[in-house]
């Protein structure tokens, strides 16, 4: 079984968000990058578990500059066999999907996994675009993934519940919470990561369908009105008369 896992980087969840160049670009100063949690915790770890029980390979793929390599090495340390970096700025999701699709077409992968979203752009769109460009079924928000032979059984979130779906290879999935448990790399993994093969390939031409023109920081709240615990009931009046939300 050949599994491809899409890995992207994201600012550490506690990073202070700031913008530069007249609010047109994200300020990376003092920002620590981590592997996007959904890609690492769920997609990658589940791929590794499947490989460990059923055999096969797990390849990671990322679109980005050389600064992406620390992220890819982390995925290696956790257990990925090898990785691909497509060397270009990930300008918009369609561009990234076009790059990964072009690579995946050559690779005969059985399962392609992405995280359900990145925590910086929160798009939830890579998996869907990729599936369309590859003309494969796509199951988003998958919380469980099992494989028997060449059939995947997937549980996924739908509005107001969950669904259990069966689909033969190949398919694309986006991974959400529940699919696996976080794995901490061990010393052997970290040592092995150094010698695993990271292929760097050039980007292909793709349209820039969208672009971010500017950013604005969300406004915090100015004051919190404190209500005495003894008087908790008065909150309900305020929510009705003042905030007008009930």
């Amino acid at each position: 079984m050949k599994i491809l896992v899409c890995i992207s980087k994201a600012p550490d969840t506690t990073a202070k968000i700031a913008f530069k160049d007249n609010n047109t670009a994200f300020d990376e100063n003092n920002v620590q990058y981590i592997v996007n949690p959904y890609d690492e915790w769920y997609a990658l770890v589940r791929a590794l578990e499947l490989k460990e029980t059923l055999g096969g390979t797990v390849t990671t793929i990322s679109v980005g500059g050389a600064d992406m390599e620390a992220i890819i090495r982390k995925a290696f340390a956790i257990g990925a066999d090898d990785g691909v970096r497509i060397d270009g700025e990930p300008t918009d999701t369609y561009f990234v999907a076009a790059q990964i699709a072009a690579y995946a077409k050559q690779g005969a992968f059985d399962i392609i996994l992405a995280g359900k979203e990145t925590i910086n752009y929160n798009g939830s769109s890579l998996g869907g675009m990729l599936a369309e460009l590859l003309d494969m079924p796509y199951i988003s928000m998958a919380t469980k993934l099992d494989v028997a032979g060449s059939t995947a059984t997937v549980e996924c979130d739908i509005d107001g519940g969950t669904e259990v779906i069966e689909c033969d290879f190949p398919l694309v999935l986006s991974a959400a919470k529940g699919m696996a448990e976080v794995r901490i790399p061990n010393m052997r993994g970290i040592m092995a990561a150094r010698t695993k093969v990271l292929n760097v390939i050039p980007v292909i031409a793709a349209d820039k369908l969208t672009e971010v023109k500017s950013y604005t920081l969300s406004q915090g709240r100015t004051t919190c009105k404190m209500i005495d615990a003894e008087n908790a009931a008065s909150l309900i009046e305020m929510l009705h008369n003042e905030a007008k939300v009930i």
Binding site: M129, M136, M141, D207, T210
Partner: protein, 325 residues
């Protein structure tokens, strides 16, 4: 030319979030001199009048039990076909879980620029089109410019008040060629949460965290929610340890919501939690620790023991509801 808007039925009614998307499409249509066409699949006997009332000039009903509506590939082919037939340059979704599977696929198929989770009306100026969406898990807003002629936009639920004061239009049935319906996925089982309000669509949410000490104490949280007509949510550790189901987990790694009212009980207000709720219009925090960081992100705060405060609130809501009748 028209703007296509994808809508769904849930529990015998058109989804509120779908009506919001129709309002949104009708608004854009009025700005661009086009019209909004709503599309709905297998609505059964549900009245489709609200779609017209929400602003659709045309309602297309595809009634065909052979459609596997769980398959994003099938829905994508259908919507692409309808967009072609109708000459639609833009397709609008509500950014729910169906849209998360279908909208990016459709965008890739149409080679349309895609903005997932738009939070306000687009700015349309001559040939340029831009719209805002939350990024960095709610810590910032980005203005996305869409460069392509074709566009797919999904609207973050609860961004606008829904209005249905227009006129109903008769639904026209629409047939799709059978070759679009080939599906490679089989649905083995569907588990629906019974009677629960859908969290992303809920206007009022009561949420609780580790301060509740254990799952056996959730009765009062559910009761408060029930009295208010609110949905329930929780912090991540609470769903991690299995006190509450995963789908209630809000925050950076859970779902992001923006109800009118978010009441947080026994939740410290970690940055990752706030990321999923700070778009709420009004935030109430109940915490026994006056230093809890959540108070800095709240509109109303009560420092006190949840086990004393929540029962008082339940009583107060009951009185309030009784006085409203």
């Amino acid at each position: 030319m028209s703007i296509l808007v994808y809508t769904e039925v849930s529990k015998g009614k058109i989804k509120k979030a779908s009506l919001e998307a129709v309002n949104y499409a009708a608004h854009i249509a009025s700005k661009t001199g086009t019209s909004a066409t709503a599309i709905i699949i297998n609505a059964g006997e549900t009245s489709l009048d609200d779609l017209g009332k929400a602003g659709a000039s045309k309602v297309l009903h595809i009634n065909n039990s052979a459609i596997n509506t769980s398959d994003s590939q099938v829905l994508t082919r259908i919507l692409n076909h309808v967009a072609d037939t109708e000459g639609a340059q833009m397709v609008i979704f509500s950014n729910d879980l169906t849209a998360k599977a279908v909208a990016p696929r459709l965008a890739a198929r149409m080679k349309a620029g895609f903005v997932p989770g738009a939070v306000d009306y687009p700015n349309i100026d001559g040939g340029s089109f831009s719209v805002n969406k939350n990024v960095f898990s709610g810590k910032a807003v980005a203005t996305y410019q869409v460069n392509s002629a074709k566009k797919v936009i999904s609207l973050l639920p609860n961004s606008f008040q829904v209005t249905t004061d227009g006129a109903a239009v008769a639904a026209a049935s629409f047939d799709v060629p059978a070759d679009l319906l080939v599906s490679r996925i089989k649905v083995k089982e569907v588990k629906r949460e019974s009677n629960e309000l859908s969290l992303p669509e809920a206007e009022l949410v009561v949420s609780a965290g580790r301060g509740m000490k254990g799952p056996e104490n959730w009765g009062m949280i559910e009761d408060l929610a029930k009295q208010l007509g609110a949905a329930t949510a929780c912090s991540r550790p609470v769903s991690d340890i299995g006190w509450r189901p995963h789908h209630e987990h809000v925050g950076q790694t859970g779902i992001a919501i923006r109800p009118n009212l978010y009441i947080a009980v026994g939740i410290s207000g970690a940055i990752q939690h706030l990321a999923g709720v700070n778009g709420s219009k009004t935030i109430v925090v109940i915490n026994k620790d006056p230093e809890a960081p959540f108070f800095k992100a709240a509109d109303y705060g009560i420092v006190g023991d949840a086990f004393e405060v929540v029962p008082k609130l339940i009583e107060a809501v009951k009185k309030f509801k009784a006085s409203q009748n």
